[in-house]
Amino acid sequence: MTAIGMPAVRIDRTRVVPWLQEYGVYIGVAALLVFNVAFTPHFLSLENFRTQAVQVTPVLILSLGMALVIATGGIDLSVGSVMALAAAMISLYLGYGPVVAVLVALVAGAAAGAVNGALVAFAGVQAIVATLAMMIGGRGLSLVLLPQLDGIRNPGIRELGAGDVFGVPYLVWISAALVAVVVFVVRRTLFGRRIVAIGGNRRAGELSGLPVRRTLLAVYTVCGLFAAVAGVLATARLQASDPNSIGQLIELSAITAVVVGGTPLQGGRVRIAGTVAGAVLMQLLVSTLIKHDLPPSWTQIAQTAVIIAAVYVARERGRR
C-alpha cells in the first residue's frame, strides 16, 4: 500500500517545494499585506509605509551583505556586533565632524569583515567559528570603547536619520541604492559570478583559476562594510550610539531574510530580490504583531517559527 502511496506524495513534493522556495516569500508578503489592509487600522497611509520602510532599513542592508556571504557557502554571525562597533566609532569620532565619524565607522566595519574574511579564506577557519569569535569580541570591543548609551546631537547625523528628499527618507534612498548596486554586481560582474561559483563548488573554482581566497576576503569585507552602514543608519535614526543593544540578535533576522528569499544556506545560488522581500516579510510580520497588541515575547516566538519553517523548506535543494 505504501508502495503505491509514496510516489504520489513525492511527486507532489518535488513540485511544491521548489515553488515555495522560489515564490513563498512573495506569497508571504502579499498575505501579510492583505491581512493588514483588511484588519489593521490606518495601514494604508503614506506615513505608515514610510515608517515600515525606515524600520526595515538595517535588516535589509545587513541581509544584502549576508546574501553574498551565504552564496559563497559561508555565514556571518558578527553583523550585529559590527553594527555596535560602527555605532561606538560614530560616537568616539564625532568630534572630527560627521563625515570623518561615518568614514571611520565604515572603515572599522570593513576591517572587522576583512578579519573574518582572512580567517575564513586564508586560515581555513569555519565561517561559523570565525564570525562567532568576532560576534563576541566585536561586541566586547565596542563596549570597552563606549561603555554606555551616548546621545548624538550632531545636526548632520540627525539629518541623515530623519531627513528626506522628495518625501522619501535618506535611509530609504540609501538602502535602495545599495540594493541596486548588489543586484548589478550579482548579475553583471565577474565578482558576482565568482561568488556563486565558489559557493557551488570551491575546489572546482580553485582549479579553474578563480581567485577564491581573494573573493572570499572581499565578500566578508563587503558584509562587514554593509553591517557598518546599517549601524551608522540605525545610530542616526536612534540619535544615539548604543553599543549594548544595537544589533542584538539581528544576525538572525538577516539570515532569515536571506533564506526565506530563496538563497540556500549551502550556497551556490543567490536571490537578491527574494532577499529584499524576505527582509520586508520579517519587518511586516513584526509590525503586524505589534500593531495587534501582541507583546514582544510573541513576536520572538513567531519569528522563531518562521525561521524554522523557512529553513525547512529551503533545506531540500542543497541536499542534492
Partner: protein, 345 residues
C-alpha cells in the same frame, strides 16, 4: 553480552591471513607532540596563567578568591559539559544562553510551589527545548546553528512571556529546602563545585566508556559512515541536544536559587563562553574528537582570566568578551595548524 559472544564465535579460526608479514603496516606513527598540545595545551596554559597571577597579583591565591573562581565557574561548566556532547557530534548549540535565562525565571517562579517544582519545571522545559533542537537537527536535518539560533530567540520570547515582558522579577522565597544545598559548603568547597565534579565524572565516563559515547564520537567523526555502521544517528544527536538543554536548564535553575531570584538579563552570551571553553579544552569544532575534562579546564581558564581582569582596576568587564573572542580564534587557528601537521606526518 550478546555482542561479546558473537565476537568469540565469529573469530574462531579467522579467514586465514597471508603467510608472510603484514600487507598493511601503519603508514605513519608520529604526531604525538601535536596530540599532546591538543589534549593538554589548555591545562598547560591554565597552569602558566595561575602561576603568573599568583606571582604578580596580591591575594590571588587566597582561599576566598580561589573559591570565588570555582563557584563562578560552576554554572558555566555545567553548560559547557552539555555543549561538549553537542560539539563532539559535530553540532553546535547557540540556544543554551537564553535557555539558561529561561530556566532561572521558571525556577524562581515555580519556587513558590516548593523545591521540587523549582527544579522540575525548568529542567523539564529546558530538556524539551533541547529535544526540539535535536529533532529539528536530526530528523528534519536542518543546520544546527540556525536551529539553535532560532530557539535561542524562542526561549528568549518564552522567558519574556513568563516574566511579563521582562518587567517581573520573581524572588525565590526564603527557607526553600534546596537553597542551602546550593549555597552551603562541604569541607570548605561549595556544593555547586562538588556537583560539577560529579557531573563531569559521569559525563566523562558516559562519553568514554559507554556505547552512547562511542556513538557520539562516531556521529561527529563521519555521520554517513556512522549510519552505515549501525549507529543510531538521530537518537544520538537528539540525546546530545536534550542533555545540552537539560544541563543549561539545571545551571539556570541553580543559578536562580543561588542568586535568590530569576534575573532576566543573565545568560545572554553564555553560549559563546561555553563554546569557547569547549574549544579551548581541545574539542574539535568539526566534531568527532574531544573530552569533557578539557572543557572543564577551558571554563576554569576563562574564569581565571576574568578574575584577573576584574582584579586589575580600570578594565571594564566587557574586556573579557574581547579576550574570549580572541582566545577562541587563537585556539581554533592552533587546532587547524595541528591537525594539518598531523595529516602531513
Amino acid at each position: 553480552m550478546k555482542s561479546t559472544a558473537a565476537i568469540g564465535t565469529g573469530l574462531a579460526g579467522g579467514p586465514g591471513g597471508s603467510g608472510g608479514g603484514p600487507a598493511f603496516g601503519s603508514g605513519r606513527g608520529g604526531g604525538s607532540a601535536a596530540e599532546f598540545v591538543q589534549r593538554h595545551g589548555a591545562l598547560v596554559v591554565l597552569a602558566a596563567v595561575l602561576a603568573a597571577a599568583a606571582l604578580t597579583i596580591d591575594g590571588f591565591f587566597s582561599l576566598g578568591n580561589l573559591n570565588h573562581i570555582a563557584v563562578g565557574a560552576a554554572f558555566p561548566a555545567i553548560i559547557a559539559l552539555g555543549m561538549t556532547f553537542v560539539i563532539v557530534t559535530g553540532g553546535i548549540d547557540l540556544s543554551v544562553g537564553t535557555v539558561f535565562a529561561l530556566a532561572g525565571v521558571l525556577a524562581a517562579w515555580a519556587s513558590q510551589y516548593g523545591s521540587l517544582a523549582a527544579l522540575a519545571l525548568p529542567l523539564a522545559a529546558c530538556a524539551l527545548i533541547g529535544a526540539l533542537n535535536g529533532v529539528l537537527i536530526a530528523k528534519a536535518r536542518l543546520a544546527p546553528f540556525i536551529v539553535t539560533l532560532a530557539t535561542m530567540l524562542g526561549a528568549w520570547g518564552l522567558m519574556l512571556a513568563v516574566s511579563d515582558e521582562g518587567t517581573e522579577t520573581y524572588v525565590v522565597p526564603d527557607g526553600l529546602a534546596v537553597t542551602p544545598m546550593v549555597q552551603d559548603r562541604f569541607l570548605g568547597v561549595g556544593y555547586p563545585v562538588l556537583l560539577v565534579v560529579v557531573l563531569f565524572a559521569i559525563g566523562g565516563v558516559a562519553l568514554r566508556r559507554t556505547g552512547w559515547g562511542q556513538s557520539v564520537y562516531a556521529v561527529g567523526g563521519n555521520e554517513d559512515a556512522a549510519a552505515l555502521m549501525g549507529v543510531p544517528v538521530a537518537r544520538t544527536k537528539i540525546t546530545a541536544y536534550t542533555l545540552s538543554g537539560l544541563l543549561a536548564g539545571l545551571a539556570g535553575a541553580l543559578n536562580a536559587v543561588w542568586l535568590g531570584s530569576g534575573v532576566t538579563i543573565f545568560g545572554i552570551g553564555i553560549e559563546l563562553d561555553a563554546i569557547s571553553a569547549v574549544v579551548i579544552g581541545g574539542t574539535l569544532l568539526a566534531g568527532g574528537y574531544g573530552f569533557v575534562s578539557g572543557s572543564l579546564v577551558g571554563v576554569l581558564l576563562l574564569n581565571v582570566i576574568q578574575n584577573i581582569i576584574n582584579g586589575i582596576g580600570g578594565l571594564s568587564s566587557a574586556f573579557q568578551q574581547v579576550v574570549s573572542g580572541s582566545f577562541l580564534i587563537v585556539v581554533v587557528l592552533a587546532q587547524n595548524y595541528l591537525s594539518r601537521r598531523r595529516e602531513r606526518v
